[in-house]
Subunit: 220 residues, 2 copies
Amino acid sequence: MASDHTRTAILAAAERLYADRGFGDVTLRDIVAEANVNLAAVNYHFGSKDELIAELFVTRSIATNRERLRELKAAEEQGGGRAPIEMILHALVGPTLRGCLGPENQRSSAARFMIRASIESVPPIRRIKNREIDHLRKFAGAMRRSLPDRSDVDIYWGLNFALAMAHHTIRESERLTKLSEGKCDLDDVEDVVARVVSVATIALTAGRMETKAPSRVAAR
Amino acid sequence: MASDHTRTAILAAAERLYADRGFGDVTLRDIVAEANVNLAAVNYHFGSKDELIAELFVTRSIATNRERLRELKAAEEQGGGRAPIEMILHALVGPTLRGCLGPENQRSSAARFMIRASIESVPPIRRIKNREIDHLRKFAGAMRRSLPDRSDVDIYWGLNFALAMAHHTIRESERLTKLSEGKCDLDDVEDVVARVVSVATIALTAGRMETKAPSRVAAR
DNA sequence: GATAGTTTCATACAACTGTTTGAATTGCAA
DNA sequence: TTGCAATTCAAACAGTTGTATGAAACTATC
């Protein structure tokens, strides 16, 4: 048991600094100063700066994905293999939104870090995100089982739009607050989740299926 | 008339390089090499690297915003001050999507640059984007006129979701193609626009207004 | 064709980056 | 206590970055 004190201190300091100031202008020297450890400690314990960032991201990312799958599995079991589409979407976007939004003053540095990670896009994180496709396929599968009459294309577009609304709301939460002059309450996370799920559900169930006519919703 | 040759060459080279390799690993030396000009030319003509990036972005950004407002104005005039919501949304997301998507081989470097700008987020660009709020307010206003019965909150959320779907689709176009194994055709830009507009329209018009019941769109 | 203003150029600068090194220190087992 | 490995440390390294400088080469005007 090497006490791990240094490792832990570096992780905590890095998470906090990246969350507050972004990846762009936080150097290893900033991190080790904040953590009160020697500069060489980062390379000794993590190998490189990128591996440090990667470890921060995967740790948090794994937690979110586990929670997503837990909710999905519960929903499918409850429905006997076929979960209602709203519950699937809820499992998809709920954990992410809950992990990043909420009252600012009580937002964990882990949450703020994940917001950063979704705004700035640095190589080590991008690499990890690219491996997320397999994870998303599980949701695509569940959605297909839930809506067997929908075409694959519609399923994927629905999945894409659901993620779009969730991630964009996180990324641009500040702007939305400013634009709406505070009228859109991003601290009420469950309301945000409900809105995203609601719209994504309509997108996946309304129109187009019954009427064969494709993508002609309100043309002139 | 200083012939402007050097200036133009720098802009073109920078746009191409940033588009292809991202802001992260393109240096001034790469740019001047590609443009066949002297290193000092960038600072001479643009002042700094950041101002060069800013100029690239605003040029393109102004063009998009002008097109957006042109479409919006046309729609409102045609409707006597009240444009149908689909046309407003079309004006909002159409120019952006058309400017960034489309067949890859014939995608302009300007388009690829704007994709980069929406993926990576570098300080000079972020600063410009923050000034975009006034522009968005014009759309919020038009939407309010179009849907006078909707609450402001719903309007802003609708606007947010419309932008979300458009931008996320641009940002993650590669992943969506891979995830859907090519089934989602991102080269058919008008279809993408139609899908985004369609979903955003439903989000803004369905449920909640007529039926007082909030966010209960397709419960079981 | 001399002159004044603009533009180009090679080069140097100063700062900062992540990483490495090898010696010093620590902690633990024998 | 001795010995050995794990850890810490100060220092330097090697490279890159954007920017500044001052002379040289142009260009257009008179």
